[in-house]
Amino acid sequence: MTLLDVRGLTVRAADGRTLVDDLSFTVAGGERLGLIGESGSGKSLTTLAVLGLLPDGMTSTGSVELAGTQTVGATEKRLSAVRGRDAAVVFQEPLTALDPLMRLGRQIAEPIARRTGLRGKQLRGAVRDALEKVRLPEPDRISRAFAHEVSGGQRQRVALAMALACEPKLLIADEPTTALDVSVQAEMLELIDGLVQEREMAVLFVSHDLAVVSRVTDRVLVMKDGRAVEQGAVHDIVRAPREEYTRALVASARQLESALDLRSPR
């Protein structure tokens, strides 16, 4: 069953430059797809286009069907029904992605209340559960805190909790570990991996880092300058990259890892 069906998606800037060019891919229910490419390759814009959240002035053409709803050219009303319910996002920068002036608990409560209609004490309980699920210690303290009062890793967990609280069919993770300390990155990936598995959620994982993508996803789509370079199963791409650009990506990831191997005590 196809959950997300992108066909011929093209995103243009206001001056007519093509930022994403005729992109097609699908994500089946429960499947995990990695979008990989350097910054400026159009991978983040693709995720925004899926949800109809392109920045002002940019336009998208083509077709994006998310759980049966066409999101290209859809009305705002239609889109806001799809967002959260069918697909939810974790963005790259957790500090700016959270409202600096609102307690974290209230921010998580919003999508929960919208989905479940809970209020008052029950809602607070649900918020607590959501925070515990992303393995945040002291959920009550976090719930009362503001974004600037907790660490980067904790903020990203809160953002993840918000996205998961929507219980979407598809989780879109836009470089969710890039802004984090290296020591926290692995933990975060493991967390996403585990939670998504439990819920049998589909994942669209965007990253510039092949090593990160290969840990979480089954399939990857390599992008460059707004176009799809190649796509396929992770192990195929890593073992036998067909395109020049993919080869370079794999080689540089390998180099980093072998450097680590050389220096490790074993």
């Binding site: 206001a14 001056d15 814009l45 002002d56 002035g57």
Partner: protein
């Protein structure tokens, strides 16, 4: 600047930006030209009252005459000179004093820092015009006093801005790096801090120019600017107020030129902000 602005980097915007700059330069340039020409040539002598009182436009007098029979266009020309002088002089004082104070305040620590910033905040809360009135009263009502007064009042605004900008730059890593590598702080100010803040600073100074022109006009309107026979636009307007309905030219022409000059300078500031400020040029996808 805003995220949306960052995300809309288009050719269309770029050309609209330079259009802003061009229109601003044309507006301000016309007034500046009037001011320059007034040094060498004026249609009539400032004291020439041969045109008869409150004559309408035409008949040798482009804009007519004022209530004493002096040529209005001549006065408008001298007025443009005074306006440009007031703007340039005040901004010069504000720039020199404001940047110096701001940089020093930015390096202050602890209670001294708190005190300085609180002092600047209070100073800024007082309108420029009021500080200027006090200073003009302490000296005498001349164009020089007005310029000094407006410049002093504005230097507080500039100093506060510079203090914040410098603090921001100092907080960034490369300054720390420059310092730990043994660069003295005057050097780091000269080579690291000032190059980083000048785009924002120049834009603000352009805005201050417009405000200074307005403040000088206000002072002259209150009789605290350049004394007669120097025809400041503010004083011309004050003199023409009583005859607004019977001889509107005198009450409209200086006002319109004043507005055009200030809009011109503000447009230049906007245009400069868009072309100079690296923050609005940065792109992201």
């Amino acid at each position: 600047m805003t995220g949306t602005d960052l995300l809309t980097p288009t050719k269309g915007r770029r050309s609209r930006r330079s259009a802003t700059l061009v229109v601003g330069c044309v507006l301000a340039g016309v007034i500046a030209l009037l001011a320059v020409v007034s040094f060498f040539w004026l249609p009539y002598d400032a004291e020439d009252t041969s045109g008869g009182r409150l004559a309408g436009p035409g008949d040798g007098h482009l804009l007519g005459t004022d209530k004493l029979g002096r040529d209005l266009f001549t006065q408008v020309m001298t007025g443009s000179r005074i306006a440009v002088e007031a703007g340039a002089g005040s901004v010069f004082i504000a720039a020199v004093l404001g940047v110096t104070l701001g940089v020093l305040a930015a390096f202050a620590q602890g209670w001294l820092d708190d005190t300085l910033s609180a002092f600047l905040d209070i100073l800024i809360a007082f309108p420029t015009l009021l500080l200027a009135m006090l200073i003009v009263a302490a000296r005498s009502a001349t164009l020089g006093s007005a310029i000094l007064a407006i410049g002093l009042a504005q230097s507080a605004v500039v100093a506060r801005l510079v203090r914040i900008l410098v603090k921001r730059v100092l907080a960034q890593d490369y300054i720390t790096a420059a310092r730990t590598s043994g660069t003295s702080w005057p050097r780091s100010v000269l080579f690291h801090v000032l190059p980083n803040i000048w785009p924002t600073l120049v834009v603000n100074l352009a805005l201050q120019f417009g405000l200074a022109v307005l403040a000088e006009a206000g002072l002259s309107y209150l009789g605290l600017g350049a004394p007669p026979p120097n025809a400041s636009w503010g004083r011309m307007l004050q003199e023409a107020q009583a005859t607004f309905t019977t001889a509107p030219a005198g009450a409209l022409a200086p006002g319109i030129l004043l507005v055009l000059l200030v809009i011109g300078v503000n447009l230049i500031a906007d245009g400069l902000r868009d072309t100079l400020d690296p923050a609005t040029r940065r792109r992201r996808t």
